[in-house]
């Protein structure tokens, strides 16, 4: 005897909150946008009471109890729970972002009620690095959250983009410096701000803030140091005037696309039971090209010279698949933090001098 207790689309947040400027937020925006457009009222997000595999599984249980037919699980942390859930609830559809279901021992299997979505973060990072150097920046920074595959891919792509632009510009070896740092969390903290300020104090002109809410701290530091930031995941130009561009990945768009296939086009099979990559070829990643709410505005207005035309050009080469980017590196450190040498040799950097902090 209860009211309003069922919902058909559920999103389960991972450790972060729904406004984390990252996975949870991006995918939730996709869910909201889709539901609004299709007049679906019963959708909701659930915060698991425990950020462990069992906690996530319990949240899935809760969602199913409440009637969920489609469950969106943003992030690799759901890989193991979804593996169990796909068998436990065969009639429920799961959209797993940035991961593929597997057992605790890494035996992968994606059942037909699961759509696994991955993104080519390295391409997005590449575009950001490329644009910054083309725009004249020579002292760059990278502040990743933690060295997880997505953040690593962003960072490696970024360095490769920087190198590519420097080569195109014909700069000398070592002409570009990049300070490369993982903060160790995804939060807005005074310590992250202090780290960013120190980087700016050393002369860094722009920092690629690649770690959800870490961005808030970097923007705050940039504001005080009168310097620039590159955002991540979603278009962050609206968060601060210091953000020149953002290396986005189409979290919301991909969620919408999959929901579309379930509810409207009856084409779930395109995603079911496998991993689908969103990259430049299907407009899954990139820099923002429009300003929301103002069709005519120039999304590249915060660059000095880099513009839409230059962007389209490099984007086309990426989309064509002619550039082969590295997404992973062999890293000795248990934390996945590559040394400057590993980065330089692994990514074949010449023009770029990397300092790891």
């Amino acid at each position: 005897g209860t009211k309003n207790t069922s919902f058909q689309i559920a999103l389960i947040t991972d450790k972060g909150n729904i406004d984390d400027k990252s996975f949870n937020q991006g995918s939730w925006e996709g869910v909201e946008a889709f539901c609004k457009a299709n007049k679906i009222k019963d959708y909701q997000y659930i915060k698991p009471e425990d950020t462990s595999d069992t906690g996530y599984l319990a949240a899935i249980d809760n969602a199913v109890t409440a009637g969920a037919k489609v469950i969106v699980t943003p992030g690799y942390l759901f890989e193991v729970p979804v593996y169990t859930a796909q068998t436990k609830y065969p009639e429920v559809k799961f959209i797993l972002l940035d991961g593929a279901p597997h057992t605790a021992d890494y035996v992968y299997e994606t059942k037909s009620n699961v759509a696994s979505i991955m993104y080519a973060e390295e391409q997005s990072g590449y575009l950001a690095g490329y644009a910054a150097v083309k725009d004249g920046y020579t002292k760059l920074g990278f502040m990743g959250g933690m060295a997880v595959p997505a953040v690593q891919a962003f960072g490696y792509g970024y360095l490769q983009g920087v190198e590519a632009a420097a080569t195109e510009l014909g700069l000398a070896d070592g002409a570009i410096t990049v300070t490369y740092h993982y903060t160790g969390d995804f939060a807005e903290t005074d310590t992250n701000k202090a780290m960013a300020k120190t980087m700016y104090q050393e002369g860094t002109q722009v920092i690629f803030a690649c770690g959800g809410s870490v961005g808030k701290s970097v923007m705050s530091a940039a504001n005080e140091a009168d310097a620039k930031v590159i955002g991540v995941d979603v278009d962050q130009r609206y968060d601060s005037t210091t953000v020149i561009t953002s290396a986005t990945k189409g979290l919301g768009a991909s969620v919408q696309a999959v929901l579309e296939s379930i509810y409207n086009t009856n084409s779930w099979d395109t995603y079911a039971g496998k991993t689908t990559y969103f990259d430049a070829s299907n407009n899954g990643v990139g820099l923002p090209t429009v300003v929301i709410g103002d069709e005519k505005a120039n999304a590249f207005d915060r660059f000095n010279s880099f513009d839409k035309a230059a962007y389209d050009e490099v984007y086309a080469t990426l989309a064509s698949g002619s550039i082969d980017l590295k997404r992973t590196l062999e890293v000795a450190d248990p934390n996945g933090i590559a040394t400057a040498e590993e980065l330089t040799t692994g990514l074949n950097l010449k023009k770029v001098a990397v300092t790891v902090r």
Binding site: N4, T5, A58, L77, V80, T84, A104, M146, V148, F186
Partner: protein, 388 residues
């Protein structure tokens, strides 16, 4: 003269009831809980009036649907609650349960990953290691307090931070323990996990039984042994205990050592809990965050008025209402934080519920006396005045 005879009898009755300490602390706790729940209900009415009644009843009884989880989540806070409550008995405020908890968790993890031991022994070794870790982290503030008179509240706050930083650094520096791809610890070997109690869909495990047993043992130690006698004496009156030749410094250190051990066990129990998913386990993410279960332990101890048996019930109660809160939030669209607010309010009121209780008793008594007095208008004082 009549009231002189009537009032002592009545007074005896009142004091007989209210002076029984166990009863009055219990009713005080109930009063505080009622006030907290009322507040929660009000927030629910404001937020979503149409669901408020279902929400409220679910908050109250929803946990019953998930009894296994109630016990499972009660385990670590029961341990930190014992830790805080035990130190309280000795007059020490162990706000450092968090750091001890984290340290215990690390020691348990370390033994879990780095030592190869036969199943059946491995998890026990991990649990003991956790206890040792917590003990170390409680002992140092104990030493500072005993030997240098440093306020243990400040020391243990500092130690929460230092412990947290150290553990995170140690974990991230160990490739076996840390899985950088997932930014958290790897899955523990099954042999290191505490045996499950086999409730489907819940992680409830043997640890809850150990925890309750420890609470009972603690109760016995406190109330039946010379050691407990000394500790409580020191807690009540440090000077008298010194006068009686009790070793105040040693007892301070010992208390913090034991309290730390309890918190450490809490951390070990939390991280060593079995998983409902085969091959999986609990994990820890080293992101420089102070363990919340340490602070929850303070709430548990306060609500249980530091009595080990009371702490068992208050841990179960808080866990129960939290589970209800999760159900409320996923089913009725309330924010789960509502439960945290309710719990904080309960603790706030429980800080002076005893006094409210006795005020109520006094009010009743006054009314009663006033009634008697009005029944016999000519009382002694007035007669005297007329005479004089």
């Amino acid at each position: 003269m009549q009231n002189n005879q009537a009032s002592p009898k009545f007074k005896d009755m009142i004091t007989g009831i209210t002076k029984s300490k166990a009863v009055s602390t219990f009713t005080a706790a109930l009063l505080a809980i009622a006030l907290g729940l009322i507040f929660g209900f009000i927030v629910m009415i404001v937020a979503k009036p149409e669901n408020s009644w279902y929400g409220f009843t679910t908050m109250l009884f929803g946990g019953l649907r998930r009894l296994g989880d109630v016990f499972y989540y009660a385990t670590p806070i029961l341990m930190t609650g014992l830790s805080v409550g035990f130190a309280f008995k000795m007059g020490l405020f162990n706000i450092g349960a968090s750091g001890q908890y984290t340290m215990g968790m690390f020691f348990a993890l370390y033994v879990g990953f780095m030592w190869k031991l036969p199943p059946g022994i491995h998890w026990i070794a991990c649990v003991l290691a956790g206890m040792v870790g917590g003990m170390i982290w409680g002992f140092i503030p104990g030493i500072c307090k005993a030997l240098a008179n440093v306020n243990e509240v400040i020391t243990s706050i500092m130690f929460n931070y230092i412990g947290m930083y150290l553990v995170d650094m140690w974990i991230q520096g160990n490739a076996v323990i840390y899985d950088s791809g997932k930014t958290r610890t790897s899955y523990l070997p099954v042999s290191a996990q505490i045996p499950s109690l086999g409730v489907t869909g819940s992680n409830v495990n043997v640890a809850i039984i150990i925890a309750i047993a420890l609470a009972v043992i603690l109760y016995i130690v406190l109330n039946k042994t010379t050691f407990g006698y000394e500790l409580r004496a020191t807690g009540y009156n440090r000077y008298a205990s010194k006068y009686a030749g009790m070793n105040d410094k040693r007892n301070t250190m010992l208390t913090m050592l034991i309290a730390g051990g309890f918190s450490g066990l809490g951390g070990a129990f939390a991280i060593l809990a079995p998983s409902t998913i085969i091959g999986s386990s609990m994990t820890y993410e080293p992101i420089n965050v102070i363990a919340a279960n340490g602070f929850n332990g303070i709430a548990v101890a306060l609500l249980g008025s530091s009595n080990p048996i009371g702490i068992i019930f208050s841990a179960l109660f808080i866990s129960h209402i939290q589970r209800g809160g999760t159900v409320v939030s996923s089913l009725y669209g309330y924010k789960p934080e509502i439960i945290d607010v309710v719990i904080a309010i309960i603790i706030y009121f429980s800080a002076f519920a005893m006094l409210m209780n006795s005020n109520v008793a006094r009010m009743i008594k006054k009314r009663r006396l006033a009634k008697e007095a009005s029944g016999n208008p000519g009382n002694d004082g007035q007669q005297d005045r007329k005479e004089a």
